[in-house]
Amino acid sequence: HCSFLSGAAWARGLLSWARPERWLASGSLFPLSCIHTSTSLQKIGKWEKKNRIVYPPQLPGEPRRPAEIYHCRREIKYSKDKMWYLAKLIKGMSIDQALAQLEFSDKKGAKVIKEVLLEAQELAVRKHNVEFKSNLHIAESLTGRGRYVKRIRCHGRGMFGIMKISRCHYFVKLVEGPPPPPEPPRTGFDQAKEYVQQLRNRTLVHTL
């Protein structure tokens, strides 16, 4: 609000910003840094933004935080359910083992995921200060649904069906360090122990 300015001072204040010589300082055009360029009109996905977080510097006594690299590929021409089987295969493996398994898999998505893993490895070494490219393991690997398109599929006798052309996204998170040891499978003894513990945790409620 300009209520603190008197009438004449307000008019002077208005005209003061309208002076053109304030905009053109020493012959150069005024900076365009506030205007968006064309690249930022595309929506940047949440997975890509995860690479941008910056942690505060660690204190001397803290254990070293392992590097995390998020990478993804969007709109792969493959079904998300079929891609999920490959993502489930490489979850928790070291990157070398994952690349070996994908190289000899017969699936179409295996080639795509291999490219994504190699790109992510390259990113890790170049930008994310990872020392050894083999010292990475796959912490998370997910698939997501891409944009589907409906098309007509012709059957005999003039019948038609509507088929959907499905695409998927693939997301991977690499973490520095050896892969974590696999969890031992739950035995009947563990389940029994948990059950007994649950029985022991029961108390009386709504009483004195």
């Binding site: 359910d81 089987y85 489930k88 295969l89 070996a100 190289e103 000899f104 699936k107």
Partner: protein, 185 residues
């Protein structure tokens, strides 16, 4: 979804036939009240309604060979929608997951990965490329189709001379150093 259109008249006929069978078996005793058999259905319908004799004949003939349009009514169909939990149990069953392959080794020649019972892909591609060049030289020497000589062929690289054993053989020259994997006899 498939769009299927069929005429309603055979269905109506089948329905009428079934009603008549039930009457014959005495499942509707209340309807049959002392009327002289055989008697036709008491409904007035449009279309080709058959006389009692006609219906009997149709029933006998259809009992021999049921048509496709009638057997559509007895096809198996799901009763309830499969829930996503049931679907997940089926799709994520361990038998449906991809198995981890344990037959991957390192090729001792080039260091790439290879399956134990399969040739190394990189070495095979290398040999294939060299073979292709040798075959191109052979084609140039022959000049046309059906000119393959009846003698053996020997491939010689830079700085190699044909030995006494290669007397009558056809010699193919390759203008490069001998690759380490191509052993000379």
């Amino acid at each position: 979804a498939l769009v299927v259109v069929c005429s309603p008249l055979p269905r109506l006929r089948a329905l009428l036939q079934r009603c008549w069978e039930r009457l014959e078996r005495g499942l509707w005793p209340g309807v049959l009240g002392g009327q002289s058999p055989p008697w036709g259905p008491a409904l007035a319908v449009q279309g080709p309604v058959l006389l009692p004799q006609g219906i009997n004949d149709a029933r006998e003939s259809s009992a021999e060979a049921p048509s496709l349009l009638e057997s559509i009514l007895w096809m198996a169909a799901p009763k309830k929608r499969r829930t996503v939990e049931v679907n997940r149990c089926r799709r994520r069953h361990p038998s449906k997951l991809i198995e981890v392959k344990r037959n991957i080794d390192v090729c001792p020649e080039c260091g790439n990965l290879k399956q134990k019972h399969v040739l190394c892909g990189y070495c095979y591609a290398k040999v294939k490329a060299e073979t292709r060049l040798i075959r191109m030289e052979m084609h140039k020497k022959e000049g046309g189709p059906f000119n393959a000589p009846t003698v053996e062929t020997v491939v010689l690289y830079d700085g190699e001379k044909p030995s006494e054993k290669d007397e009558g053989k056809r010699i193919i020259e390759r203008a490069r150093k001998r690759p380490s994997w191509f052993v000379q006899n």
